[in-house]
């Protein structure tokens, strides 16, 4: 091989050096923006704590705009670009096609992110990251996002080019790994996302420059959410790919069945993006047929896919653990899992919170009629902090605990406190989600500076429970923010101050079975080549029962409000 490659002493992968460098820079930049966005998030949460109310209104709306942009767009997408390079070049032992373009992408994304941040911090573009027309931001606000998106599109292009060239150059045989297939799903959704974004943000930029007179508010929303919601679906596909990767890295877990898992990703490619209609369920003028078909991802087929991953990811772990001999009862495999390893604990909480908190609430509020009782309440941010924070962000954190020491060949800076960090962040954030959802069911609005309406001509008295929940939300936000800070310090510390890893003497061992594999392990089912996964099945049934109960409770609640027709 050319000396453009190094062999990873931990994994045996042949790593293309230009890819290595791009992965590192994209990941580090992501983490820096998580820091910036996290600080804004904490300020927002403290302002929404009525007893603390830390920011004045103009700064609150400014901070909220910056928070949404820096975490949702910049942190998540920079990390995802790093993941795309990792899952293509590294996992396929291939060269990254066009590293120079990779740097162009990086510069465009960074420049765009900074440009939009400057526009927001200047104070004349506090329009929220959704920037609904006819509210107008300064042109550089839109231009920054467009540049960022162009950069991300180039990154996706390199991912596609790399898998195709790798196949030609035969750096791998047969099909791409499942994790890469998940990343492919994310990249496909990303291309749609970015094209839709261009279709709406470019005219909006011209409008803000005075070159276009009018933008239709409804059309803006339809196209904007093709970007806004699909970008969340990139996250889902990406973090599920990360789940599969972590199960493989930690346990040597094989997918239960390549066919089922890949088919579930195919359902994502086909249907996930339709759910952009979640944001249009109480808009005027769109038909119920349109709303029902799209909001349900055509017959809830993408929810079906998520439920499949929800079984197969822990199922793969269970199968691998049982093979190692953790075979007692339903749950020994789970009890004996490495709960002190942040890669595992972050992963486990990501799976559970994404499913139970984010998944169930998302399907509930994406139901055409049920949306009436939560639209634009703080239930909505409650829901998506469960998905994009305890789901995506926590999964990315968990992977970082493995990826950063491995790529840089450094020891973790603070290994002791790293054991606790996922719990602090994960549980803190799960509580943030829960309290926001609770307040939302009482009607507390999102993006709102003052629910006591002190400056308003007329008021409305929220019940004391609403104030209590917003207070508890503030407290939980402090815990979560602390968790985020510890993560960032640990990662940056590892890079700057971490000790060099001592190369392992021998190639790391294939996880070996401590006990003789049970007889049923010899069956020929699936790729895991093992027995059933009864523990996971029981957990899945518990999930299903919670889902059904919560879903119908909300129908009952809907039935109690004013008649509408």
């Amino acid at each position: 091989m050319s000396n453009d490659f190094r062999t990873c002493p931990d994994t045996g992968f042949k790593i293309h050096l230009p890819a290595d460098k791009l992965i590192k820079w994209n990941a580090v930049t992501a983490i820096v923006f998580l820091l910036i966005g996290g600080i804004f998030g904490l300020l927002v949460a403290l302002t929404r704590w009525p007893a603390v109310h830390i920011l004045p209104p103009d700064l609150f709306y400014l901070a909220l705009t910056a928070h949404g942009l820096d975490v949702l767009l910049v942190w998540v997408i920079f990390f995802e670009i790093a993941l795309l390079y990792f899952t293509s070049a590294v996992l396929l032992n291939a060269r990254l096609v066009g590293p120079k373009l990779g740097w162009l992408a990086y510069v465009l994304m960074l420049g765009g992110a900074l440009m939009t941040n400057v526009a927001v911090l200047r104070g004349d573009s506090s329009v929220m990251f959704t920037s609904y027309v006819p509210m107008q931001a300064a042109p550089d606000f839109y231009l920054g996002i467009i540049l960022f998106a162009v950069g991300a599109l180039i990154g996706c292009g390199l991912f596609f080019a790399t898998i195709i060239v790798a196949k030609k150059e035969r750096t791998y045989e047969g099909s791409i790994p499942l994790v890469t297939f998940g990343a492919l799903t994310a990249a496909i959704i990303a291309v749609f996302t970015i094209l839709a974004g261009a279709a709406i943000l470019v005219p909006t930029l011209f409008w803000s420059m005075g070159l276009i007179a009018h933008i239709d508010t409804l059309m803006y929303k339809v196209v904007w959410w093709a970007m806004g919601h699909s970008s969340q679906q990139i996250n889902v596909a990406a973090h599920i790919a990360v789940w599969y990767a972590i199960a493989a890295i930690l346990f040597g877990a094989k997918p239960l069945s390549e066919k089922v898992s890949r088919f579930a990703f195919l359902l994502y490619i086909l249907f996930l993006q339709l759910a952009s209609a979640h944001h249009l369920l109480v808009e005027p003028g769109l038909s119920s047929e349109y709303k029902i078909f799209n909001t349900s991802y055509a017959l809830y087929l993408a929810v079906l896919a998520s439920m499949i991953h929800g079984l197969t990811v822990p199922g793969a772990v269970e199968a691998a653990q049982r093979k190692k001999g953790f075979n007692k009862g339903l749950f020994e495999w789970l009890r004996k899992a490495p709960w002190g390893n942040p890669v595992f604990s972050g992963f486990a909480m990501s799976v559970v919170f994404f499913g139970f908190l984010g998944g169930i609430s998302g399907v509930m509020m994406g139901t055409e009629q049920l949306n009436i009782i939560i639209h634009n309440t703080i239930y909505v941010p409650g829901h998506f902090h469960a998905t994009v924070v305890t789901g995506t962000t926590l999964a990315f954190m968990a992977l970082s605990y493995w990826l950063v020491p491995t790529l840089w060949q450094k020891e973790l800076f603070l290994p002791g406190i790293a054991k606790w960090q996922p719990y602090l962040f994960g549980i803190g954030m799960a509580l943030v989600s829960t309290f926001m959802m609770g307040a939302g069911t009482l009607g507390v609005p999102r993006r709102h500076w003052d629910i006591s309406f002190a400056d308003a001509a007329m008021g409305f008295d929220f019940p004391a429970a609403a104030y209590l929940m917003m207070g508890l939300n503030g407290i939980s936000a402090i815990v979560a923010a602390l968790g985020a800070m510890i993560f960032i310090i640990n990662m940056v510390g590892t890079l700057l101050l971490g000790k060099d890893k001592v190369p392992a003497a021998a190639a790391p061992e294939e996880p070996v079975a401590p006990a003789a594999p049970p007889a049923s392990a010899a069956t020929s089912y699936g790729s895991a080549g093992t027995m059933e996964v009864p523990g996971t099945f029981v957990l899945a049934l518990i999930f299903l029962v919670s889902f059904i109960l919560y879903y119908f409770v909300n129908w009952k609640y809907l039935a109690s409000v004013w008649g509408l027709s």
């Binding site: 994994t11 045996g12 992968f13 032992n93 596609f160 898998i163 195709i164 035969r170 791998y172 045989e173 047969g174 099909s175 791409i176 297939f181 492919l184 799903t185 990249a187 496909i188 959704i189 291309v191 749609f192 094209l195 839709a196 239709d216 409804l218 059309m219 339809v222 196209v223 093709a226 699909s230 040597g252 890949r262 088919f263 195919l266 490619i269 086909l270 993006q273 339709l274 952009s276 209609a277 249009l280 005027p284 003028g285 769109l286 038909s287 349109y290 078909f293 799209n294 055509a298 190639a507 790391p508 294939e510």
Partner: protein, 61 residues
């Protein structure tokens, strides 16, 4: 972990190595086709359908 190169399946070229690859597997192994489907289907079902409905909203009297 062992070297990822080991245990690789036999190359799929040279036809005589066995049965043909099933259609669904071929589809799932074709990134550009998947990209095409994944971009076109939401564009039609979500964006175009939605815009058509908005255009069809009548004027108030």
């Amino acid at each position: 972990m062992a070297d990822p190169g080991t245990g690789a399946p036999p190359p799929e070229t040279g036809g005589d190595t066995g049965e043909p690859i099933p259609f669904m597997q071929q589809l799932l192994d074709n990134p550009l086709l998947l990209l095409f489907i994944g971009v076109v289907s939401p564009t039609v079902l979500y964006i175009l359908w939605g815009l058509m409905e908005i255009v069809a909203i009548p004027m108030a009297q």
